[in-house]
Structure formats: C-alpha cells, structure tokens
C-alpha cells in the first residue's frame, strides 16, 4: 500500500471556526467602526445570508450580536459595523477602544432571524447603525432585479455610516439626517399597501414602533423588523478548559480551549458522527443532560438555545465547568 499523507481520518486538524481574527478596523463615521474578520488560518468562513448576524465573544466573556454587512461572495472575510453606545455594558466600548487588528475573538453563528424573503419589490428603512443588515439585502435586491428603495435616517450626516457605498445607487436611496430633515416621514415613504412588496426595517426601538404604525394598513407579515439593541446576554463564556461527562459510560473528557468538543471526544476514542464541522448541517446533534452549552451553531432558534437540551459539538462549547452529554 502506498504511503499516505494523512493516515488517520479521524484526527484531521480542525478547521477551527470558533474564533476569528480582526484583520482591519476602520472608523467609518462618528462613533462607528467596521471590523473585518478573517479565519486565523486564512481559510473559508461559514456561508451566510443577508440579515444574518454573528455572535462575537469579547474580552469580558460576554457575547454580542453584530449583523454581517460585507460581501457574501467573499468567503474569506466578514464585515461588521459597531456603534459606540455610551449606555452599553462595555461591548461596544471594548471594540472601539481596545480591540485591535491581530486580536482574536470568539465566533458564534452566523444565524439569521431576519431573512430576506422573495418579493418583487422592497422598501428598506434604516435608523443609524440599523443600516448594517440592510446593506447586503440591497445588494441582493439589486442582483435579483427587484424594485427597491431605502430610507436612511440618523442623527447627523457625519454619524451615518456607509453613505459613500450607498451613493452608488443614486435616487433609490434617501438619506435623511435628523438635523437637516427632521423626523423621518415614514408614512410618506411606505405609502399604501402594495401586494408583492415587503418592508424591511432595522434600527432603534422607537423607529420600529413608528414603522408598525406606518404599516398598520399592510398585511402583518409584510413588515420585517430587527431591533438593533443588545440582546439578552447569556452567562459569560468560558475561556478556560471544561469537562464533558459521557452519561452512558461515565467517562469524563477534558476540553481545552484549542480544540472543539468533537475533537476532544474523538481524541478520547469517542467518535461522534459529524459532517460540516461548522454548526450548519445538524449531523453531530447531541443531547445535553446537564450543564449550560455555549451555543455557536447556525441551527438552533433562540428558544431552542435557551432550552439548552441539545448542542452541536463541532462548534459549540460550554459556559459551565461541566457538560453532561448523552453519549
């Protein structure tokens, strides 16, 4: 038999997609930076769709959600926009003041609770940093030949990110800084209900409340919103090792920070069937009997994550010192 390059199929090195590295940090408007994130090994990042967000685990071990606003045809980098929020619990301040190119942060997802549904035309309404998930949607609407318009409001022109990028679309985009134009004329922009038109809006809570009023005459499902505010935070994510206890055999396997749960199990001779190893296919689904999983997959809904009764060990980790798995 010829000499083989990789003799053991189960111990191939991980395509570790549970961390990303900051490749670039650019100030794009007053109080807004964009981060370009890449895989430390330069490889592909998991695929995503417009409206998707990633969870980034920052220095304090808490994770924050940021919408992806880059180019999905670029498989090797993600872009997120981060607004410095004075009232935040420190996540945005950390990104603005401490996170620098070269730093590595924990990655969860991408997950999408704000998907673009097929339509003949779209109305997009963004408030401030809420523009980020809408940017890739606009690219797609354009590609699909759909009719679309964007109304983009912010405090001042200088606080509004991506204006140069949006200027390429001409008068499909209405930029309305509050200090120049006052409050957004939502009713005027949205107009009367039209079949085949979907409305997407992202921004601060008052904007979304006003959008609901402006769309009151529309079918309920025509308005798609995503609230741009810090979501419920789970417990801090562990950066240290944790133990995985295998319920059926009673064995315990220690998972160090540099390997996935799947790899740690494999190295201990416990193979769990897997396929994508990116938390996207669902093959490795494993029942959690005790402990708090740190979900990093793209599969579970928020309710399912909160239930904590299953996990995808190819990417997900543990918030607690110990996880008990049904293996």
């Amino acid at each position: 038999m010829p000499q083989v390059e990789q003799s053991n199929e189960t111990r191939r090195s991980a395509v570790d997609r549970t961390v990303v590295q900051v490749a670039e940090k650019v100030r794009v408007a007053d109080g807004v930076v964009t981060l370009t994130l890449t895989a430390p090994d330069g490889g592909r990042l998991p695929d995503w769709t417009p409206g998707a967000h990633v969870d980034l685990t920052l220095g304090d071990g808490l994770s924050r959600q940021y919408s992806l606003c880059g180019d999905r045809w670029d498989a090797h980098s993600y872009r997120v926009g981060v607004l410095l929020e004075p009232a935040s619990r420190g996540g945005s301040r950390y990104v603005h003041e401490q996170l620098e190119p070269g730093h590595v942060v924990g990655l969860g997802g991408p997950r999408n609770h704000f998907p673009l549904v097929p339509a003949e035309s779209y109305l997009f309404v963004a408030g401030g940093i809420g523009i980020t998930p809408l940017l890739p949607m606009i690219v797609q609407a354009q590609l699909l030949g759909a009719d679309w318009r964007l109304l983009y409001g912010g405090r001042t022109r200088s606080s509004m990110a991506f204006l140069a990028e949006l200027s390429a679309y001409g008068d499909r985009v209405a930029v309305r800084p509050q200090d120049e134009s006052g409050l957004l004329d939502l009713a005027g922009f949205v107009g009367d209900p039209r079949p085949g038109t979907e409305v997407y809006s992202c921004g601060p809570a008052p904007l979304l409340t006003a959008m609901e009023a402006a769309c009151a005459a529309w079918p309920a499902r025509a308005l798609h919103t995503e609230r741009f505010a810090a979501a419920e935070q789970g417990p801090p994510v562990r950066t240290a090792a944790f133990d995985v206890q295998l319920h059926r055999t009673g064995r315990t396997v220690t998972v160090t920070p540099d390997v996935s749960v799947l790899e740690a199990l494999g190295a201990a001779g416990v193979d769990v069937l897997s396929s994508c190893r990116q938390g996207t296919c669902g093959t490795c689904e494993t029942t959690v009997l005790a402990g708090v999983p740190d979900h990093r997959d793209s599969l579970l809904s928020d309710d399912e994550r909160a239930a904590g009764d299953c996990m995808y060990p190819c990417v997900s980790r543990s918030c607690s010192d110990r996880l008990v798995l049904d293996l």
């Binding site: 038999m1 010829p2 083989v4 390059e5 990789q6 003799s7 053991n8 199929e9 189960t10 191939r12 592909r44 695929d47 769709t49 417009p50 999905r72 045809w73 498989a75 999408n112 998907p115 673009l116 549904v117 097929p118 797609q140 590609l143 699909l144 979907e198 499902r221 025509a222 494999g266 193979d271 769990v272 069937l273 897997s274 396929s275 994508c276 190893r277 296919c281 669902g282 093959t283 689904e285 599969l299 399912e304």
Partner: protein
C-alpha cells in the same frame, strides 16, 4: 483575475467514459486511475475537467462562488442548453435565488422537525421486517426491503395521495440519468418523461397534498411569505425527485455491505447503536450519488492547473470517499471507522438537505433488522442497476437466519 494557462503537460487527459456501462458496472478502477493521474484530469470524450481526490472535491463542493450549480449539476450547460425541465430551486440554483427555498426545506427536514417521525418509522420498520420474514428468509432484498421501506414511509411523510406512487422510482431514475450525457440510459427513460413529469407536477399542488406532511409544510411557508406561491411546487418537486431513489440505493448499499461483511453485521447486532455510523460508512463506501457537475465562474487554479471560466467540472464524490490520501484502508467497510466528513451527501451550501430523513429511515430499518436477524448472506449473485449518477442494485438475493 485571469491566471496564465498552465502548460498542457500538467493536465492528464483521459478518454474514459464515466457513463459507459463498463464503468457503471464497476466504477472503482476508473476512480483509482483518475485519482492517481492527478488532482485534475481532462476527460476528452465529454470535454470536461474531473476532480476525484478528496481534497479537491471537498474544496470545490464548498466553493459555490467559483463552482456554480445554476448552470446545471449535470453535463448539460444551462448557459447554452435548455434544461429538460424547469431547473430545481435547490440543486440547480445558487445564492441569492437558492436562499429562500433552502431555508424553508432545511426547516421542514431538519433533525428537530423529524423527531415526530422517529417512533412511527421505527414501528413501520419492525412491521415490514416481520412481514418479510413471515414470508420467508430467502428473498430479493432490493424490492423487499430497500425499495419497500422508503416507498412505505416517505410518500406518506410528504403527504402524497395513494395513487400513482409507482411513478416515483422511474421518475427519480430518469432525473438522475439526465445529469449524465444523452446516452442509452436517458433514451430508455425518454418515452415516459412527459407522463411522469405530469404526474409529479400534479402531486406538487397544494390540493394534492395531505395537511400534515412535508408538502403542506412547504405550502405553509409560502403562506407565510417565506417563498413565493410559484416556488412552492418546485420545492415539493425537489423532495419527490431526490428523496426516493437515493434512499433506496443507500439502503441497498448498506444491505449489500452487511451481506458481504458478516463480521460487521455481527458488530451491529451486538451494538445496534452503531446503526447511524453504519449508514454513513455505507454512504462513504458505496456513494449512492456517484458524481455531480459544477461550472466554473472564473479561471480557477487547482493544483498546478488552471480550469478556465465557464467549464463543466465533474466531481467524483465516490472517488473522493475512497481516496487513500484521506481515508485509512478506504476500500474496507468498517463500523469502527469514523466516516465523518465523507462527501456522499455533498458538502457546503448544497449539501443534501434530506440527509437527516435518509439517516432516520436507515436507522429504523437497521435497528429492526438487527433485532430479528442473526446473519445476512448473499443467496446468489447480486445484479447492478445502471444509472448515470446513482450507484444502485437491481436485485440482491439474500438468505437470512433469524434470532
């Protein structure tokens, strides 16, 4: 970016016919040859490039940006040729058009959505195995088990009516033949295409589907605006095209694997929890879906070779699944191996959306069999069924001993 063309000497040329009967009967020698010839081989007969090593096949499968599916995943190039039926919204589409249908089907066929079927299918499998064994312990495993089980549970799960289900297998067989060249296998199916397509099309309508199946769930997604009402029937069609023959041949593959590897069957009987691994190992070992094409969207460098933009590239999933560069003793069917990472279901954005359904069906059948059956052996020579894309069995006489 345009890369300079590499010297022709870097590109091995083969005039083999991967869709000829000799290869369809036993594709392993060709797969070996192609893998050893280099990371890319030019197939002169069809004017296509071929990838057959694991590393390159896997990389091309995940790289939807440079290896598009929208130009068709068969030999026919939709950029220049009219497809025989409206293209699939799943298999023959890329982002952004692929997004919404894929999202809907992923939810309908996801592992958590299937939990409600687990107990029923386990009971169905036990019942089928009991019926088969009651009729005798020597029989043809292809119709009796491999076809019978999917045809028993899948059309119900989709929500099809009782009539015309016998159309499913010939329709699927033709659809998978049509990914290859216009050879005798395609010609064989052509006379019935209009009739079968017509029947399948009728089954995709909302009114034809029961209220609790996958089909109804797809239509419900259309009601919620997640896909358009025009897309819904085509998404249902994907289930009917890709959901039956593939599973049938996967079950045949695993039954053949066990009939020829009694030690592995003994292992499963001793530990039925190996059923899931056994199924994926059988998919790796036999690769029911042997090949799919992609089309390059740019000049792509693979190894030392540049494949120009707009070329059809033939991905040998089956060859990758037995590449010794990736797998130890790749030709061995071994339940002790971790088959994770095989490309028998594809990989990446287009990875088989029905894989959890297939695993659940197989787990039900294997678990039921392992409860009743002590040994499985071939009772005569098994006969291949030739298909341009699928590796299949026509018949497989087996003799069982019961516990």
């Amino acid at each position: 970016m345009t890369l300079a063309p590499s010297p022709a000497t870097d590109l091995p040329v083969s005039d083999a016919d991967p869709f000829g009967h000799e290869v369809l009967e036993d594709p392993l020698p060709l797969h070996h040859q192609l893998r050893e010839a280099g990371p890319v081989v030019y197939l002169s007969r069809y004017d296509v490039h071929a990838l057959s090593r694991y590393e390159q096949v896997q990389a091309a499968l995940v790289d939807w940006q440079q290896f598009q599916s929208a130009a068709g995943v068969g030999l026919s190039n939709f950029r220049t040729e009219e497809p025989w039926r409206p293209p699939s919204l799943l298999l023959e589409a890329d982002p952004p058009r692929h997004d919404a249908p894929r999202r809907v089907l992923t939810a309908v066929l996801g592992p958590r959505a299937l939990r409600r079927l687990r107990d029923r299918w386990a009971a169905d499998a036990e019942q089928l195995v009991d019926e088969v064994l009651a009729a005798g312990t020597e029989f043809d495993a292809v119709p009796a088990l491999a076809q019978a089980f999917p045809l028993r549970v899948f059309p119900d799960a989709v929500g099809l009516g009782p009539d015309g289900r016998e159309n499913l297998l010939p329709y699927g067989d033709h659809a998978f033949n049509a990914f290859g060249p216009a050879n005798d296998l395609v010609a064989k199916g052509t006379p019935r295409v209009a009739e079968l397509s017509g029947w399948v099309g009728e089954q995709c309508a909302r009114a034809a589907l029961s209220e609790d199946g996958f089909g109804a769930a797809i239509w419900a997604a259309a009601d919620r605006g997640e896909i358009t009402p025009q897309q819904a029937p085509l998404v249902v069609r994907s289930l009917l095209t890709a959901g039956v023959d593939t599973t049938v041949h996967a079950l045949s593959a695993i039954l053949h694997a066990f009939a020829t590897h009694p030690d592995q069957w003994a292992r499963l009987v001793a530990d039925p929890s190996l059923a899931r691994v056994a199924f994926d190992e059988a998919i790796r070992w036999e690769s029911p879906v042997q090949t799919f094409f992609r089309t390059t969207t740019a000049d792509v460098r693979i190894g030392g070779v540049v494949v120009p933009e707009g070329r059809k590239v033939l991905l040998f999933l089956a060859a990758a699944n037995r590449d010794p560069r990736r797998w130890t003793d790749p030709d061995t069917f071994d339940l002790g191996r971790d088959p994770s990472g095989h490309v028998g279901f594809g990989m990446g954005l287009h990875q088989c959306v029905g894989q959890h359904v297939a695993r659940l069906e197989a787990e039900a059948v294997l678990t039921a069999l392992s409860r009743r059956v002590r040994t499985i052996a071939l009772a005569g020579p098994a006969q291949r069924h030739h298909n341009n894309t699928l590796r299949a069995w026509h018949s497989m006489p087996v003799r069982l001993t019961v516990r």
